[in-house]
């Protein structure tokens, strides 16, 4: 047993850190560190930089053009990029559909789409949820009917994150009606520019535009964009669900937010002393810090058991990871006291910082708090995760 990183791993960390320091544009880092609004172009710029370096899909196997990083290397990469203020990589291509295509895609799909993901050509979004199919995803209703070499897709997707930027969507559609509702679902790759696709914004609690409704009306999808076999979509979706084991914990980003919280608490004053020295507030910071230490160690522990198949431990990471994110966001909002109230969407623009009221870090914090409420709902609500632990792990 040894919880220290190897010399090689330390070296890799240094390499990543140096590269990010030298190449991450300062304006992008500032936005991330100050909780300001990221544009599509910010993500694209940063991902282009990584693609050029060959690191965008560093976690992919070498046979698909990745670097074949070990899980520990992936963790180090996530942590270093997050800590230094790099935007989170848009996961839909890199960490989601990419893996499904690698495992179940046709040679053409692999050649065409994996290359475009690795080179940051396509922006993917995920078409899973529907108005009537949230936690109960399997009851989805979007239909795809085979017509010659095409599928004709009709239906509606919802909660489609960043669909407004996407040119491709992977989606679950119903190609037949089986005895069980999990049957007859297929996995399609859909061009967002195709005729019949309409994207309508959903404005969130923080009054920002992160997610969308996507209406699909007689959308024609070439049959070569069917992944794997017709009717096996649920199997592929489940494969994907179990795939992302440790990134879901968000340890790197939470470490960055913890530093942000501590910095704010040092600046803010309560009873004439820094809030960071207030016994009750200091205890709350310490408690979330300890939670994060425990989560990081659990991530490490799972990484080191690499030979084991991906399991429901991801549920532990999802629950704790999102609880910590939400606690951090709440404490930051609390830290600024009365300045939690002003709503200043214009101050979310990097250039307009000076126009805001209150301390310069305060403007985004209430919105940030409300925005993070989604994390315990999306990606399998924390209630669903507890069901999974009880039923899959404990056999109840």
């Amino acid at each position: 047993m040894d919880i220290e990183y190897t010399a090689d791993e330390q070296g890799f960390r240094e390499e990543v850190r140096t590269f990010v320091r030298d190449n991450l544009p300062q304006d992008i880092a500032s936005k991330v560190l100050d909780h300001r609004r990221l544009e599509k172009s910010d993500s694209v710029r940063w991902q282009d930089i990584l693609a050029k370096k060959g690191w965008l899909a560093g976690h992919w196997p070498k046979e698909y053009g990745g670097c074949g990083w070990s899980p520990v290397q992936c963790h180090i990469f996530d942590e270093e990029t997050a800590t230094l203020g790099a935007p989170r990589l848009i996961p839909f291509g890199l960490n989601m559909v990419g893996h499904v295509i690698m495992a179940f895609g046709s040679p053409w799909q692999k050649e065409h789409y994996l290359t475009r993901i690795r080179e940051n050509t396509d922006w993917w979004c995920q078409g899973y949820s529907e108005p009537g199919a949230g936690s109960d995803l399997a009851s989805l209703k979007t239909r795809a009917e085979r017509q010659g070499d095409d599928y004709i897709v009709n239906g509606q997707k919802i909660w489609t994150t960043l669909a407004q930027h996407a040119n491709m969507m992977f989606c679950l559609v119903r190609t037949s009606t089986g005895a069980r509702k999990q049957e007859g679902i297929s996995f399609l790759l859909l061009d967002m520019k195709a005729k019949g696709v309409t994207v309508r914004p959903l404005i969130m609690l923080d009054e920002e535009h992160h997610v969308n409704e996507v209406f699909l009306e007689n959308v024609r999808v070439p049959a070569r964009n069917l992944v794997g076999e017709e009717g096996k979509g649920w199997t592929y979706a489940k494969y994907l669900l179990g795939f992302e084991r440790t990134g879901i914990a968000g340890v790197g980003a939470s470490k960055r937010e913890l530093q942000s919280l501590k910095e704010i608490a040092r600046q803010e004053k309560r009873n004439g002393k820094p809030l960071a020295e207030d016994p009750l507030f200091a205890a709350r910071i310490a408690n979330v810090e300890i939670e994060l230490m425990a989560l990081e160690m659990t991530v490490m522990r799972i990484l080191s058991e690499r030979d084991k198949a991906p399991g429901p431990e991801a549920s532990v990471l999802k629950i704790k990871g999102t609880e910590i994110q939400q606690m951090l966001a709440e404490l930051m909002m609390e830290a600024v006291g009365p300045y939690a109230l002003p709503f200043q969407p214009e101050a979310l623009e990097l250039k307009k910082v000076s126009r805001g009221v209150g301390p310069k870090y305060s403007a985004p914090l209430a919105g940030n708090y409300f925005s993070w409420r989604k994390s315990s709902i999306y990606g399998g609500s924390n209630e669903i995760q507890r069901n999974i632990i009880a039923q899959m792990v404990l056999g109840l």
């Binding site: 949820s129 009537g132 949230g134 936690s135 109960d136 009851s139 919802i158 909660w159 959903l202 404005i203 969130m204 609690l205 009054e207 997610v211 803010e268 004053k269 309560r270 009873n271 004439g272 207030d278 009750l280 507030f281 609390e334 006291g337 009365p338 300045y339 939690a340 109230l341 002003p342 709503f343 200043q344 009221v357 209150g358 209430a366 919105g367 708090y369 409300f370 925005s371 409420r373 989604k374 315990s376 709902i377 999306y378 609500s381 209630e383 507890r386």
Partner: protein, 377 residues
Amino acid sequence: MDFSFNEEQKLLKESLEKFVEREYTWEQRKTYLAKPGGFSREVWSQLADMGLLGLTFDEEYGGIGGGEVETIVVMNAIGNALMVEPYFATVVMAGGLINRFGTTAQKQAILPGIAEGKLIASTAFTEPASRFDLNRVKTKAVKDGTGYLISGKKAVVLHGAQADRLIVSARTSGRVGDAEGISLFIVEKGAAGLKAKDYRTGDGRHAAEITLKDVRVGADARIGGEGQALPIIEAVADSGAAALCAEAVGAMQTLNAMTVDYMKNRQQFGQPIGKFQILQHYAADMFVLAEQSKSMAYLAAMKARSPDAVERRRAVSAAKVYIGRSGRAIAKSAIQMHGGMGVTNEMAAAHYAKRLTLVDFILGDTDHHLERFIKAA
């Protein structure tokens, strides 16, 4: 012991409920929010016509002499409907302050105007670095002839840019943090050197940062003795906190009802989500918190004018702690149970949740009042 409303109070409650039903649907509310200053002058006039804007003022100044219970009734209804008019700032805080502590001339000059709906007013106690401490006043008022010159900054003044009158705390002596040496002044809109930077709050209201630069006021603009205003400010802040508690309870009640309704209608896994035991328990906890919060709001209101300052502080701070925490917890659960819909701005529930979260940061958050409660023991 009696927790019931009397006949007049019941009538007040009913008339407000009818008013809301007719004039304050969710769709109507959206149009009010979009108006200049973020509220409807028409609604404001109607509230004046109903006698609500002079509710607690003495009758000779156009009021109807109501007390804390009447304020509870109104604030509860405001919370139920999430009304955005400046009732709290104008009637409860500024009006209440003048009615209780102003000179006859000040009352005559301001209270009838408020009662008739012609005057918006607010209090400006908070400063950029004061957090929630009412004594941490840096703004200065320097004697100048018979009057004063006021300079300083005031933070997050509710409806500060819409207010025709601001009641500003300023230091006439002593140092930041001293209990002595704070005075109160009435400042008129448009006074030379007065600037208001208007903005929306996260819960859809308006507030402003106020800058005062040698703003000249006469001696007749001072409320209370020079340097003796802190007890006045505290008394009014306690009444205000009690009123906010009643508003929050109103918002909890509506939000809980909306959530239960959603749980009965939203289907997943072949049944309404309200059939899932874990969600039932969340809803039960929300109910318990709202019931207990209601009790605490009554306690705060009943003690908000207690002559015993310790008793007053204990009751009001305990209520603010309990309701601040409960409101935040209810907001979280409501969002969670609304699922994806709960995190969009499209559902009314989301706006109740935001109000219940942000109201904690007005007149002192949970931590502030917990500490005050401990000190008052």
